[in-house]
Amino acid sequence: MQTRTTALPEAPRTGIEVDAVRLEDVSKTFAAQRRGAAPVAALEGISLRAAPGEIVAVVGPSGCGKTTLLELVCGLIEPSGGTVDAQPAALMAQRDLLLPWAEAVDNAALALRVGGIDRAQARSQAGALLEDFGLGGFLQARPHELSGGMRQRVAFARTLLAGRPILCLDEPFAALDALTRLQMQDWLAEALRADPRTVVLVTHDVEEAIVLADRVVVLSPRPGRVVATLEVEIARPRRRTDPEIVALRARALEELRA
């Protein structure tokens, strides 16, 4: 199935930019796994929008339907109610999902190969990006020869090379150790500054959300509802120790606990 692309209406003449992602009153209920069990409501009444180039972070407790939200944006599943309008999106999962038999450069080139570009050209394009990502010495390495942070960078390169205007990042650094995670957050902020995209970032790390995003949407436990939306109007590059960030983080945690 192709990622669903809904033709967005022309920009209204008021001069307001058209949203890259717009969810209106979206709900998603999964049918019961076993006979007799109740259906599972994953999301309820979610409204969310992202302007082109905007980074929107979605935080919430485990099992609040964050991954479901991304799969809706990517068109991998259909909503049970409400409307999802989104430009084509590429998904990056928490697991790096690199092909264990393929070299780093072939893994990064996967999206290009799927797009019909021949192997040699796809490899050279992917190789150039991996070099930008500081992986120039590891183009021929297989995933098991790379560290967790390197693997996530290869996976991110693959996601970027899908060439979609929207990136859906599903807890991209959750599997990394704390120190690597901090480094990767700074690295991602820099990579997105170099190649701006509309990003929907799902995470359970409130600090990560605030350091990276323009807006943080806080979800409730299942079924996920939007309980708060925090605008992060702090200049970049952001420092975690910045009092504004610390204050915002406290507020977000407050909302999460509520």
């Binding site: 990517c74 790096d96 264990p100 190969r113």
Partner: protein, 248 residues
């Protein structure tokens, strides 16, 4: 190393058992007699070995081609799975000694019925692990391919087919174990040459040591093929042998 030691002890015991006259040499020749037969009959053993080796080689090759095609067809096309898989399973319940003579009548005395029988026996152990590996491709990888807009064929070629290679190798290893037995059974059903044929001829001539030598060669051939395949697997599919937990 330890296996070699065990083997030496066994051989020594065997030699002593026969040497003390506990059993007629016509029933159980001593290892030294078998070694002598290996040397003295080497021309005869070699010419028959090449026949059996060709039967095994071509039979396994045919089984690999058909097994791979079968596994892919069953994996990709749901109706084929329902129509073909039960038939495949039932084909394995046919006793080879029963159909081998029929195949000889059908295909003649030469190489063809042997290849058919070896392929028939080896087909199933190749299909099952290959199909299993294809079906077990990481569901998240399939989802990734879907999110990239990949076609069914691209998902198969770029993800499922490489992921199934270790399954195919496992199938080939299993089939090696059966191929020797199948070739001998096929030769017994009617042939003029081959190690199985040699055994059949040697026994009534009281050349027991020669029969044992033929069996030994067949076993050594299977072990050598198995070893070669294991080495090739580790060389070509190193990622399939990562310890658990290191695979992404």
């Amino acid at each position: 190393m330890r296996a070699l030691l065990v083997l030496l002890v066994l051989l020594g015991g065997w030699e002593a058992y026969v040497g003390f006259g506990a059993i007629d040499e016509l029933l159980l020749p001593a290892p030294s007699s078998i070694a002598t037969a290996l040397v003295e009959d080497r021309a005869l053993l070699w010419s028959n070995f090449t026949v059996t080796a060709r039967e095994i080689g071509l039979g396994i090759a045919a089984a690999l081609v058909l097994g791979l095609a079968g596994a892919v067809a069953i994996h990709l096309f749901r109706p084929v799975r329902r129509a073909l898989y039960p038939l495949l399973v039932s084909s394995q319940t046919i006793p080879i000694p029963v159909i081998a003579p029929l195949l000889v009548v059908w295909f003649g005395y030469d190489l063809t019925p042997k290849i058919v029988i070896v392929a028939l026996v080896c087909f199933f152990p190749i299909v099952v692990p290959t199909l299993d590996a294809l079906d077990r491709t990481d569901a998240d990888l399939r989802k990734l391919m879907r999110s990239l807009g990949a076609s069914r064929w691209q998902t198969f070629r770029l993800v499922e087919a490489p992921a199934a290679l270790p399954g195919l190798v496992t199938g080939a290893k299993l089939s090696l174990a059966f191929a020797g037995i199948a070739a001998v059974l096929a030769e017994w059903a009617g042939s003029e040459s081959g190690l199985g044929h040699l055994v059949l001829q040697a026994l009534p001539q009281f050349e027991t040591a020669r029969a044992y030598a033929a069996v030994l060669i067949l076993a050594a051939f299977s072990v050598a093929l198995f070893g070669a395949l294991s080495v090739a697997e580790r060389r070509l599919l190193p990622w399939a042998h990562l310890p658990r937990g290191t695979t992404p």
